[in-house]
């Protein structure tokens, strides 16, 4: 199972442009989603006139389903400069891949819980690291797309765009570089503070037990 938890209001505010289109995924039954907190935050953003529309669905990790649902929200999505996604990391990556020319940001961090991991089909994966990096990487996960799970850029081991560990696999950081260049946002990477993973957030079970 997994738990999604809202990022701080300040960090979400810092990501938003003038207008955001919001996508909520109520997802699979294995996910614990912070529905009330998300609603409250989204109401605040709506009241501030920052939201063009809200799409609430399940299984946004299924690209066909996502595409179908988005057909009814074309105007709202077009009007927005940013797409803010409330889901696990797989959902955010699916949306970022769909809107490859738009800034797509994660509003949640995803934590791991034992048990089934929900439906995570297709090519995207979320390691449920509890400190979602997708907002600094153009919506491509460095934890799962890089063999070394590096969080500060490519290692220099890739040859012709392929990973040194698996020649069948594209270098995740070259994908991130290209995505950010396409978005005109390579400065996000250049200016990002030094990233260091916090492995104590890796397992939400501990926190659940502590709060029991």
């Amino acid at each position: 199972m997994l738990i999604t938890e809202l990022k701080s209001k300040e960090s979400i505010d810092a990501l938003l442009g003038a207008k955001a289109f919001i996508i909520n995924c109520f997802g699979c039954k294995e996910v614990s989603f912070p529905e009330e907190e998300a609603k409250a935050l989204q109401k605040e953003l709506c009241d501030a006139g920052k939201v063009t529309g809200i799409l609430t669905m399940d299984y946004i990790c299924n690209p066909d389903n996502l595409k179908l649902q988005l057909e009814n929200f074309k105007a709202e999505a077009d009007e927005a400069d940013t797409v803010l996604v409330f889901s696990c990391g797989v959902g955010v990556q699916t949306v970022a891949d769909f809107f490859s020319g738009k800034k797509v940001f994660a509003a949640c961090d995803t934590y791991r819980l034992p048990g089934f991991q929900g439906v995570t089909p297709q090519e995207f994966d979320c390691d449920q690291c509890g400190m979602c990096f997708l907002n600094g990487t153009g919506g491509i996960c460095p934890i799962t797309a890089c063999s070394k799970s590096l969080v500060n850029g490519q290692c220099g081991g890739a040859k012709n765009g392929k990973c040194e560990v698996d020649p069948e696999m594209d270098c995740g950081w070259e994908r991130i570089q290209k995505r950010l260049e396409k978005l005109g946002k390579i400065d996000i990477l250049k200016n990002a503070p030094v990233q260091i993973r916090d492995y104590s957030t890796d397992d939400a079970t501990k926190e659940c037990k502590e709060s029991e």
């Binding site: 590096l150 500060n152 490519q154 290692c155 040194e164 570089q177 990233q195």
Partner: protein, 293 residues
């Protein structure tokens, strides 16, 4: 002695590289260093290079320092978590090892212990940042370091002939922002490509760069590196040159000439050279002479 002080004096810094043996007897290595490396300014000691288990880099650095050499301690993030890396940095400081080259490290599967756990708790960027923290008397856990904090000449690497140069330049910038004070490059065989990189780097960053040099041994080695080693691009003309006279190539004469020519071509665009010998330490004196170093 910190290589950063040498750069500050305006010295053209020449370094070579030794790989520790798979064992703990280093007499031969030290003898070779005394024979061929007395004129270089510093010696890199590799850290379980290519993920092959060997004698430790720090131990060999200490041994070289005791013999009067100036070692550069290569540190990869493949085999140690942040606690071990910080601890080894303090150990280095205790022994007066003050040049550290931060590397992410090759993946474990590429070496001779393919089943080993790859660590990568930190990476080259966060390791540089960690060195900076220690210099300020703090560790990554936020605790104070007792006594006078250590200081390091903080080095990093970059691949000027990479097929993803843009990504390399971004990473280089992140390394500089994290505290990198000098760079050593992946081996360069294409002077024009290096010069192009060096011009961008000079415009964007103010940091000394040592040109990476490998003396090419033969056409087979070049083809292998072209196909398998990241950041290496050897032009066909160089491979043809090595093929032309196999005896000359085998004796290292052709390779030394090629390497000396690359150094001469790029000399105005770098602040030093870093020579990766791959067993050809004995060619270094001739190379330095031909390159005018």
């Amino acid at each position: 002695m910190k290589v950063t002080d040498l750069f500050k004096e305006g010295k053209f810094v020449v370094s070579a590289e030794v790989g520790p043996p798979k064992g703990f007897h280093i007499e031969e290595m030290i003898e070779d260093a005394k024979k061929y490396l007395t004129h270089v300014d510093a010696i890199n000691v590799t850290d379980n290079q290519s993920s092959v288990m060997r004698l430790g880099s720090l131990a060999v650095c200490i041994a070289l320092k005791n013999e009067g050499f100036n070692p550069i301690f290569q540190m990869t993030c493949r085999d140690r978590n942040r606690i071990a890396l910080e601890s080894d940095l303090l150990s280095a400081a205790m022994f007066g090892i003050d040049n550290v080259l931060a590397l992410t490290g090759d993946y474990t599967k590429l070496g001779d212990h393919p089943g080993a756990k790859p660590v990568f708790d930190l990476d080259s960027v966060s390791l540089l940042y960690t060195m900076g923290l220690l210099e300020q008397g703090k560790d990554l856990g936020g605790q104070d370091i007792e006594g006078e904090p250590p200081t390091f000449a903080k080095g990093a690497v970059v691949s000027p002939c990479s097929d993803s140069l843009d990504a390399q330049l971004v990473k280089m910038e992140r390394k500089i922002k994290a505290g990198a004070q000098f760079f050593q490059t992946q081996a360069v065989f294409d002077s024009e490509r290096y010069i192009k990189f060096a011009e961008i780097a000079k415009k964007e960053f103010d940091v000394p760069i040592q040109l990476g040099i490998i003396i090419p041994k033969n056409a087979g080695m070049c083809n292998f590196m072209n196909n398998n080693v990241a950041g290496i691009a050897i032009p066909a003309e160089i491979i043809d040159e090595l093929k032309a006279d196999k005896e000359r190539a085998k004796a290292g004469i052709t390779g030394t000439e090629i390497a000396a020519r690359i150094i001469r071509d790029c000399k105005d665009y770098c602040q030093g050279v870093h020579i990766m010998t791959l067993g050809w330490e004995d060619k270094i004196p001739a190379l330095m002479e031909q390159a005018g170093l």
